[in-house]
């Protein structure tokens, strides 16, 4: 009698534990699945050293030319953020290519999506122009094409030649980490961040070397090393978006050195 009771109790216990484990495993795996975080071989990231940035906006101009952007729109804005000592501090702001990008989550048609290498891409042919991504972006990184860009690009040819198609009227656009350069460079066996032919235009265009680009999965890449050796921060980190653009804060002594 008592044996039977114990058996039943043990059976119940086992069942409870089993169910709990199953539920727990399911919860964990489903969280992973829903995050959709890219897990490709490369994980591109950008490091911007504010000690070196002089606010010259060459990066912006290179970007305007290579991506053939309407002069009313800037994918890559350079904003002044006060001074440290007598040094002016600037925040160049491309798209953050967030690990958990609000724009990807809110897009009703999956026109914004993650590439395996972490780049947040826009499918300009699928976008319906609802602008929800623009509303959701914490970094104002998206600009809407209120009108069609038909005129001459003033940044061409002085700052580079266009490598991508112009976007049509009625869709928002944003920085793409110059994915076309990265892909072409990788196909040629080059290393993005090391070989200029495989590196985003803004990084190549920076005269002071304030911008660095590379693969976070590669511990020997310049971005991995810089992030390992220096304190860094990301914009609006408290939102949990996980930006792939890191900033090394401005330190006046470093600039003089």
């Amino acid at each position: 009698m008592s044996e039977k009771n114990v058996n039943r109790r043990e059976f119940l216990k086992l069942t409870a534990v089993g169910v709990a484990v199953a539920a727990g495993t399911h919860a964990v795996t489903s969280t992973k699945a829903s995050s959709d975080a890219p897990k490709g071989k490369h994980q591109w990231a950008m490091v911007i050293d504010q000690s070196k940035c002089t606010g010259c906006s060459y990066c912006t101009l290179a970007c305007q030319a290579h991506n053939d952007i309407n002069p009313e729109i800037q994918w890559n804005k350079v904003v002044e953020d006060g001074t440290v000592g007598d040094m002016h501090v600037f925040v160049p702001r491309p798209c953050m290519h967030c690990e958990k990008a609000p724009c990807v989550e809110v897009c009703p048609v999956k026109a914004s999506y993650y590439r395996e290498d972490g780049i947040v891409m826009m499918d300009y042919d699928r976008c319906i122009g609802c602008r929800y991504c623009q509303v959701a972006c914490p970094y104002d990184a998206r600009s809407f094409n209120w009108t069609a860009f038909t005129g001459k690009n003033p940044a061409v040819p002085e700052w580079g030649t266009p490598e991508v198609e112009r976007r049509p009227r009625g869709v928002p656009e944003k920085c793409s980490f110059c994915y076309q350069t990265i892909d072409r460079g990788l196909a040629l066996g080059l290393t993005p961040g090391v070989d200029p032919e495989a590196t985003p235009a803004c990084v190549n265009g920076c005269p002071t070397g304030a911008r660095l680009f590379g693969d976070l999965n590669d511990p020997e890449s310049i971005v991995s090393k810089m992030l390992h050796e220096n304190p860094s921060y990301r914009l609006r980190e408290n939102l949990g978006t996980g930006p792939r653009v890191y900033y090394l804060p401005a330190i006046p002594e470093k600039k003089e050195a």
Binding site: R93, P102, P108, V109, C127, Q134, V135, F144, W146, L239
Partner: protein, 417 residues
């Protein structure tokens, strides 16, 4: 000859009304063509305020169409059968509201020819996707629910009596349609609030109660608009016949609902004062002390909730048709004010992305094109309702008997215990 013609063309108030709406519709047509031709660049929308007047019209039309699902649920699911004639009007108002929303959306999106992509490429993470799907599905439900009403068209009855009879038959499935309507509406009415509520980049919106507020205000405003429209129609034309006692009871219910809505809205605003939160506190200041203060205190709170609450719960004013109508119209207008305030406040506060920088501000005033197109969408709604009243007996509380199929349950044998 000319004199003869003139004597034939008698301008009745009905003709004048349609003419007036026609002018507004024509203006909207011109504006709409310009928008499709020239693009959204001719609006006053910017990258900082990408959603403006049209989105408010879109949100308001859907909110004020909520009488359809709530009254149908009441009548067909919760056993409040005697309100069926009001639910009938609400269904028609609902169909108008959702088509108005569709018109506003088609104008507002940058690539209107691609609107169907939401049906093909599903991002189940996106509130916007969920709302789009629900709205399209619910619009379909509404079309079915309206079939028995459309069957009232004299021409259809005479020309295609069989089709008209078939359309009337749909009424027998009203309870099932009501279940679908309740489910779909609960989903998207609250999700429209969540469209704003999930945006963590903008703390003024980022809160769970957005869904609750949108849902509750939609039910309150939707029922109010239907009741108001019924009463107004019955005053203007003998084509509309209302059972005033029925409306009076429903209006009292709105009065009680208003207490709940007022509680949640006041609590929502007050809870924002609890701590300083960059963006949220500035938004609250804009709303309560800044350019939106009149809208908030007078439009939403005083005239949108408190005054109609008193008018509808105090028996002498509720029994008085003028005060009851005034109160119901104020409630509907208050819900529109809530939608406008919520949308625009979140944009007027420009959140800094550089830490330590102060919150900035922007402004928005709809352009003439936006106003013309927006007015035309409202004019379309008024035209559709006017025609419905005149030709489809949309507001006719005397119809109940012949329209509603009665199920006779006959006791075969008396029960013996």
């Amino acid at each position: 000859m000319a004199k003869n013609l003139r004597s034939k063309l008698v301008i009745t108030p009905w003709i004048a009304w349609l003419g007036f709406l026609g002018i507004l519709l024509l203006g909207g047509l011109v504006a709409g063509i310009l928008v499709f031709w020239k693009g959204l660049g001719i609006t006053n929308l910017t990258d900082l305020v990408p959603w403006g007047l049209w989105i408010t019209i879109d949100l308001s039309s859907i909110a004020l169409a909520a009488g359809a699902f709530s009254l149908c649920a009441g009548v067909y699911l919760f056993g409040l059968k005697r309100y069926q004639p009001i639910a009938r009007t609400a269904t028609f108002v609902g169909l108008i509201g959702y088509t108005m929303a569709m018109l506003a959306l088609i104008l507002d999106i940058g690539k209107p020819e691609r609107f169907w992509k939401a049906l093909v490429y599903w991002n189940t993470h996106s509130l916007m996707w969920e709302v789009t799907m629900c709205v399209i599905l619910y619009l379909t439900v509404l079309v079915f629910e309206t079939m028995p009403i459309l069957a009232n068209l004299e021409w259809l009855r005479k020309r295609f009596p069989k089709i008209a009879a078939l359309m009337e038959r749909v009424h027998h499935y009203a309870p099932f349609l009501a279940i679908l309507g309740l489910g779909l509406s609960s989903l998207h009415q609250s999700s429209l609030g969540a469209v704003y509520g999930v945006i963590k980049a903008r703390p003024f919106w980022f809160k769970p109660e957005m869904s609750v507020l949108f849902m509750l205000s939609a039910i309150v405003g939707g029922i109010s608009l239907t009741l108001f429209a019924s009463m107004l129609a019955s005053r203007l034309t003998n084509k509309a016949k209302v059972n005033d006692a029925l409306i009076e009871r429903a209006a009292q219910f709105v009065g009680y609902l208003l207490i709940g809505y007022f509680y949640f809205r006041a609590w929502d605003a007050l809870s924002m004062t609890y701590t300083y939160d960059p963006g949220r506190s500035e938004g609250l200041s804009l709303l309560t002390k800044g350019p939106l203060a009149f809208n908030f205190w007078i439009g939403e709170m005083l005239l949108g909730m408190i005054v109609p609450m008193i008018l509808l719960l105090y028996k002498p004013t509720r029994m008085n048709r003028f005060w009851r109508m005034t109160a119901l119209l104020l409630v509907a207008a208050g819900v529109v004010a809530f939608r406008w305030d919520t949308n625009i406040t979140g944009f007027l506060v420009v959140m800094p992305y550089i830490s330590g920088q102060a919150v900035a501000y922007t402004s928005y005033r709809p352009s003439l094109i936006e106003i013309m197109a927006g007015t035309a969408i409202i004019a379309y709604g008024l035209t559709a309702f006017s025609l419905g009243v005149k030709y489809l007996r949309v507001v006719d509380h005397s119809l109940v008997e012949e329209e509603h199929a009665k199920v006779k349950v006959e006791a075969i044998e008396p029960l013996t215990v």
